[in-house]
């Protein structure tokens, strides 16, 4: 029997790529055409924490050609219960660098662009330039509203998710083609009224599952397959082990995507000072 010609490409794929992506390329919805699409796609993940970790890992494993990672924090021991892209070896290392090391080890096909900074009203629109899809992996209301408003203004599709204790919620926003996050929640609740994961706790698998669904939505969007969570909010109660969903309609009076939007730019005043991500 001949040996496979390792160095030679087969219909645009290296032998390694054919082996690496074989399990998804044999899906009729993906195929070689879809795999090439993924390899030439660019996804931005804001926050490399509980949600961003699994999202980034699965996007990298699927062969998304370029991944942007935004996070200004360093890896802390308390992160490792759920932020599975990091490790004990990278404690104290900037999260984007730690995540980049993991992604490079997982899949050398992926080019990682690391933004070691917070996602702020001042840099949001610049950072969003050039990406095909955005994953909101942030952990606080100001950043979630900022991502929503920036993505609607820049017309970027994105996956939103939020987690707390044993509960996860997730929706996908295609700006002006469906409702946005502000159609669901008009503005951030006053600081201190909703506890953070730091205060209330979160089971590590909850962002694990939600972040994995976010990666699924990104891949489906890029391939143009299936039904996205547009106009729907998926809700997971891990303790009761129940999935549920409810319809979300675009609000014509939404300040971001309504018929007469009030938010036409990103002013720091609208997002408070606490735009931290991924904790």
């Amino acid at each position: 029997m001949k040996k496979p010609s390792v160095g030679k490409k087969f219909l645009g794929f290296t032998q390694d790529q054919i082996v690496r992506y074989s399990r998804q390329m044999i899906l009729n919805e993906v195929g070689g055409k879809g795999q090439k699409k993924l390899l030439s796609s660019k996804v931005l993940v804001v926050g490399t924490g509980g949600l961003g970790s699994p999202a980034t890992l699965f996007l990298a494993a699927a062969g998304i050609g370029r991944l942007g990672l935004v996070d200004g924090d360093k890896v802390d021991l308390s992160n490792l219960q759920r932020q599975v892209i990091h490790s004990t070896n990278t404690l104290g290392v900037p999260k984007v660098e730690s995540a980049k090391t993991t992604v490079n080890a997982l899949n050398p096909d992926v080019d990682v662009v690391a933004y070691e900074k917070r996602f702020t009203p001042a840099n949001a629109l610049d950072i969003l330039k050039g990406w095909d899809f955005v994953v909101d992996g942030s952990d606080n209301f100001p950043t979630k509203f900022l991502i929503n408003d920036a993505c609607v203004l820049a017309n970027k599709p994105f996956s939103h998710s939020g987690v707390l204790r044993f509960i996860g919620m997730i929706t996908t926003v295609l700006p002006r083609k469906g409702p946005c996050y502000r159609c669901l929640v008009r503005e951030a609740p006053p600081q201190g009224t909703v506890p953070t994961c730091q205060e209330a706790g979160v089971l590590g698998t909850v962002p694990g599952v939600m972040g994995t669904i976010q990666a699924t939505e990104a891949i489906k969007y890029l391939l143009g397959i299936g039904n996205l969570l547009v106009g729907r909010v998926l809700y997971w109660d891990a303790l009761g082990m129940k999935f549920d969903q409810f319809e979300l309609k675009r609000n014509p009076k939404c300040p971001t995507c309504g018929d007469k939007p009030l938010i036409k730019g990103l002013s720091r005043a609208n997002y408070g000072g606490a735009c931290r991500v991924g904790r």
Partner: protein, 77 residues
Amino acid sequence: MKADRSIDIRGDICPYTYVKAKLAIEGMKKGQLLEVLLDHEPAIRSVPKSMRSDGHRVLSVKKAGKDEWKILVRKSR
């Protein structure tokens, strides 16, 4: 019958024989013929089975030499 595309995937084993056959037929037009030359014996059963399952028509599986076979498939969807 003359094939519209021929691939030589001798040296490949299952399931990559099927992955390559699938990649090759994906870029072809409905009704065209794909010829697959391979030397992994189990693939003479698995590749036709998977191709049929994808909705294509397997026209023949023929011996092409010592431990080598040619599979002829018509793209049917």
